[in-house]
């Protein structure tokens, strides 16, 4: 049966794209730079610093403008800002000290709350602008009234304004934008990759039940180039120093000097741009070649039939799994783990892989249910849906198991250079970090446990949607703490870009589905699959 994209599906996907695009662009222009705040111990002084980069584009004027804005905002709330010391712009004060100590202990990423910043490392040759202030209430009637009994809240209020971007400066480096691009690029690339993996697994294990839904896997798998292009754009921008996601791409860390990073220097045999590009292109190239040929053979099988092509795919499926076993771990190290380049975890690759896998299965489930609800693919019965539901349930467990194994072992051993990764996430992202785990684990476990739930469409759709976002959030938590520290938000930019990508992905997926009959014609296990029932 041929599939046609209905006009409604077109409308929905285009709306998603347009709304997403508008929100994203709006979010991009209201992005603000990260200003690091630190309160003195007695709570009377607030130190603000702005981590500059080698080619940081924020100008001194903007920094001065920020100071003026904050002063003005304070005044309107009856607070006068005072500068206790002569800590002005570029002074060799606190910020400088911190800067030096950071480079001395390349692997000592320990830091106080709020300074989740090994990318402070990016601050290059220019000393970071620092501004230390105190404040007191203006002794007017209104001022006394407003802050009566709340004088101790003045400094925290100022800090909160800066932290919450009520007062801030525009970000010309668009760190948040690039981080989001990486998150979405990787997440949606992962969905296609997961589908490719599962397709290969299905062939290599001689599974029969899923023969009727293999075309859906192919459809999802063939969106691979989209994610690949986005990832390449992000890496290219990193290589050209347009973004600062990968700290090891910063050449100044490789030469002795202020920014020298001993650890990164040690790792430069692996983490260097040429090798990184070779690896990246090899992964993507191999995946694309396999995806291309699986599709080609599958279409040819439709025409020719016979077992030859089936066994060819069986063997190539096994071969793909060999490549995938190695590449899935390595790409996770290269693309994600190297954001926190000082940190390492042997399990990381397998953990990322489980996230990829589940996102793919959710996409398959949703596509299946959509097609079925539109009257396509009558061969799909409740047993197929149940089976995909089981996969979602099982991989949720696998993901949670790997999440917990990684977290618990690092938490338990409490070794400085490892635990910093989670420390940063717990201190700055506590709610999101544990919330994501709880949702991705508990929701499918409790609600998808029963047989009936896995056969009830409404439950499947609701749970799948929630954990789909949950696994996007998981990627978010892998990237953001390393790139923009505690300066994170989930605002128009994040939501907009997610919707934009989702719209494009679904549209491309549906378009792929139109290009071949929805059910394979000559798969030798088709009959078994059509009669799949348990």
């Amino acid at each position: 049966m041929e599939f046609k994209i209905s006009s409604r599906a077109k409308k929905v996907t285009f709306t998603l794209m347009i709304v997403g695009l508008i929100a994203m662009v709006w979010g991009m222009f209201t992005e603000q730079s990260y200003i690091h705040t630190k309160m003195s111990e007695d709570g009377t002084q607030l130190t603000m610093s702005y981590p500059t980069h080698n080619n940081g584009e924020n100008t001194d004027e903007e920094w001065e403008q920020f100071k003026a804005d904050l002063t003005a905002a304070a005044l309107s709330s009856h607070i006068e800002i005072i500068e206790p010391g002569a800590h002005g712009h570029g002074a060799a004060g606190h910020g400088e000290e911190e800067h030096v100590s950071h480079d001395d202990h390349g692997n000592d990423e320990g830091h106080e709350h709020g300074h989740g910043d090994d990318h402070g490392g990016h601050h290059g040759h220019r000393p970071e602008p620092t501004w230390t202030i105190g404040a007191h209430v203006i002794h007017t009637k209104e001022g006394m009234k407003a802050w009566h009994h709340h004088e101790d809240q003045i400094m925290p209020t100022l800090k909160a304004w800066v932290d919450d971007h009520k007062v801030g400066m525009p970000d010309h480096q668009h760190n948040r934008f690039w981080s989001n691009l990486l998150i979405n690029g990787f997440f949606f690339f992962g969905i296609s990759l997961g589908a490719l993996f599962y397709l290969a697994l299905h062939y290599a294990t001689e599974s029969g039940w899923g023969a009727v839904i293999l075309r859906i896997f192919e459809g999802v798998m063939l969106v691979l180039p989209f994610g690949a292009v986005v990832l390449i754009v992000v890496f290219l921008a990193g290589t050209l120093d347009w973004n600062h996601i990968y700290m090891w791409m910063d050449d100044s860390k490789m030469v002795l000097g202020e920014s020298f990073d001993k650890l990164l220097y040690q790792k430069s045999g692996y983490l260097n741009e040429p090798f990184f590009w070779i690896r990246t292109l090899v992964y993507i190239g191999v995946f694309l070649v396999f995806a291309f040929f699986f599709r080609k053979w599958s279409k040819r099988e439709d025409e020719e039939g016979g077992l030859k092509l089936h066994f060819l795919q069986y063997r190539r499926g096994a071969l793909f799994l060999v490549f995938f076993a190695v590449f899935s771990s390595m790409l996770a190290w290269d693309w994600i783990m190297s954001i926190d380049a000082h940190w390492f975890s042997t399990l990381f690759g397998w953990y990322v892989f489980s996230g990829i896998w589940i996102s793919a299965m959710i996409m398959i489930m949703m596509t299946m249910l959509y097609l079925k609800s539109r009257g396509y693919m009558p061969q799909i019965n409740q047993s197929h849906i149940h089976d995909v539901g089981k996969w979602i349930f099982a991989i949720s467990f696998l993901w949670s198991y790997l999440w917990f194994s990684q977290f618990m072992l690092i938490w338990y051993s409490n070794i400085g250079e490892e635990v910093v990764y989670f420390q940063q996430r717990i201190l700055d992202y506590k709610f999101l970090f544990f919330g994501t785990f709880a949702i991705n684990f508990v929701l499918p476990m409790v609600l998808l446990m029963s047989r009936d739930a896995k056969r009830t469409w409404s439950i499947l759709v609701v749970i799948s949607s929630i954990i789909f976002v949950g696994h996007w959030m998981d990627v978010y938590l892998m990237v953001m703490p390393g790139t923009i520290m505690n300066n994170y938000q989930i605002g128009a930019l994040e939501i907009g870009m997610f919707l934009l990508f989702l719209g494009i992905f679904i549209f491309l997926l549906l378009r792929n589905l139109t290009k071949a009959p929805l059910i394979k014609k000559n798969h030798p296990m088709l009959d078994e699959s059509v009669h799949h029932d348990f």
Binding site: F404, F407, M408, W411, Y412, N414, M449, S450, R451
Partner: protein, 177 residues
């Protein structure tokens, strides 16, 4: 009142299933079926309800989780807090990661054993229980259908026997119980 039971023996599971379907279609109530292995699809035909043992297992598991959590909270947090590996046990939540493994194991322990015991009790299978299968061959390669005369009073015994005989049986036997 003494009841009469007709035991019809088949040598193929599919033939029995066919026969049961036909008989049930005519309004005969099939009391039970004895077989050497589970015949798939027989339950809805003869009206055997789906077991709720699964729900039981879930409840036993939940009990296990709760017991483990409360137990550990009492042992490690309330009764005798210890400082182990620089992780003082002042609060449950901060030590939770290292309690998860035992909570999990205990959950599985309770769910599995609880369900197994319930299963044995519900099936009345315990050491020393007598076997109640009508013919020893039903644990080898024969399939027996049990029809009670009392439950099928709308038919005469003769009709009942005749109807059953049409379904491809190999033996038929009537017993008083």
């Amino acid at each position: 009142m003494a009841d009469k039971v007709i035991y019809a023996m088949y040598d193929d599971d599919d033939v029995l299933k066919d026969g049961a379907k036909k008989l049930v279609g005519k309004g005969v109530h099939v009391a039970d079926v004895y077989s050497p292995f589970p015949i798939h699809g027989i339950d809805p035909i003869i009206g055997v309800k789906h077991t709720r043992l699964g729900i039981n297992a879930f409840l036993y598991g939940l009990t296990g989780t709760m017991l483990a959590l409360f137990g550990i909270k009492y042992f490690m947090i309330q009764d005798w807090p210890m400082n182990i590996g620089g992780k003082p046990s002042f609060s449950m939540i901060e030590n939770l990661p290292s309690f998860i493994p035992i909570v999990f194991e205990f959950t599985v322990l309770c769910a599995a054993h609880g369900m197994a015991i319930t299963y044995l009790l519900r099936n009345k299978t315990l050491p020393g229980m007598p076997a109640r299968n009508p013919d020893p061959r039903t644990t080898d390669d024969k399939f027996v259908m049990e029809v009670r005369v009392n439950e099928n009073t709308q038919f005469s015994e003769k009709d009942l026997q005749a109807m059953i005989k049409e379904t491809g049986i190999i033996e038929i036997e009537e017993r008083e119980v």
